[in-house]
């Protein structure tokens, strides 16, 4: 097994601004113990085989980082399935005004799972609920009986 010791690796015409530039490679793989630990593919996606430990500050990864709230009330309806195609998890906040009555139940689904339920009995009810939708997942508001008014529907995306 040969071994190369260099301070930097650049391509033949490189300007030395990177430590490793394998411009013709489809992917870069780092192995430990003869097992792939990290892969950078041609779309700049990075895959880690093990756990990621961050000792500094991780930015751009949490819900809310580089995201902003948008009022989408005018383009949302009950009993309609929507899809999070943003590439990141989003947070959804929905405000409902429910008339007095004994039969109205509201469910919020992410995929086929109920993540929030609101039921009113005899009094009028105005309330807000929030939930997170993973990337690629669908979400919807569904109700039984009398239609509530969606006072606001906002999404952090």
């Amino acid at each position: 097994m040969s071994e190369i010791k260099v301070n930097s690796v650049v391509n033949s015409t490189g300007d030395n601004d990177s430590g490793l530039d394998l411009s013709t490679n489809d992917q870069v793989i780092i192995k430990t113990a003869n097992t792939t630990a990290l892969t950078v593919d041609s779309s700049q996606n990075v895959t880690l085989a093990g756990n990621l430990t961050v000792t500094g500050t991780a930015t751009g990864t949490s819900v809310g980082d580089n995201q902003s709230w948008t009022d989408v009330t005018s383009s949302r309806s009950s009993n309609t399935v929507y899809t999070n195609s943003t590439g990141r998890p989003i947070m959804v906040s929905v405000g409902l005004e429910i008339v007095a009555g004994g039969a109205t139940v509201n469910w919020f689904y992410v995929g086929s799972v109920i993540v929030a339920m609101i039921k009113n009995t005899s009094a009028e009810l105005a309330t807000t609920t929030s939930f997170i939708v993973p990337n690629g997942a669908t979400y919807k508001h569904q109700y039984q009986s009398v239609a509530p008014t969606i006072s606001n529907w906002s999404e952090l995306s």
């Binding site: 004994g102 690629g136 009398v146």
Partner: protein, 94 residues
């Protein structure tokens, strides 16, 4: 937004009209026009209301407690009973 329907479940799906979500459109869904969508929503809404029991229909139509107390104050017990009876008669016991 553009809309699709699952012909089997009648579930409505909504996607961005600029095509950015086309890869997410479930196979088997059928496009539905805005006019047809509005008609479908009305039909589904009516079906939901028709499915209510007489108790649920009454409960949804009774005035709020505050308004019933106001009715009592202004119209007395007979006036209040008239209000309530009209709803009971509208949705008789099944």
């Amino acid at each position: 937004m553009k809309h699709y329907i699952d012909k089997t479940t009648k579930e409505i799906f909504s996607y961005e009209s600029d095509g950015s979500q086309d890869d997410y459109i479930k196979s088997g869904l059928v496009p539905i026009s805005d006019t047809a969508l509005a008609t479908l929503r009305e039909e589904q809404e009516q079906a939901r209301l028709d499915a209510l029991t007489y108790e649920e229909k009454r409960a949804n139509e009774y005035p709020t407690i505050a308004n019933q107390l106001d009715d009592l104050y202004h119209n007395g017990i007979d006036g209040w009973k008239t209000t309530i009876k009209a709803i009971k008669d509208k949705y008789p016991k099944e």
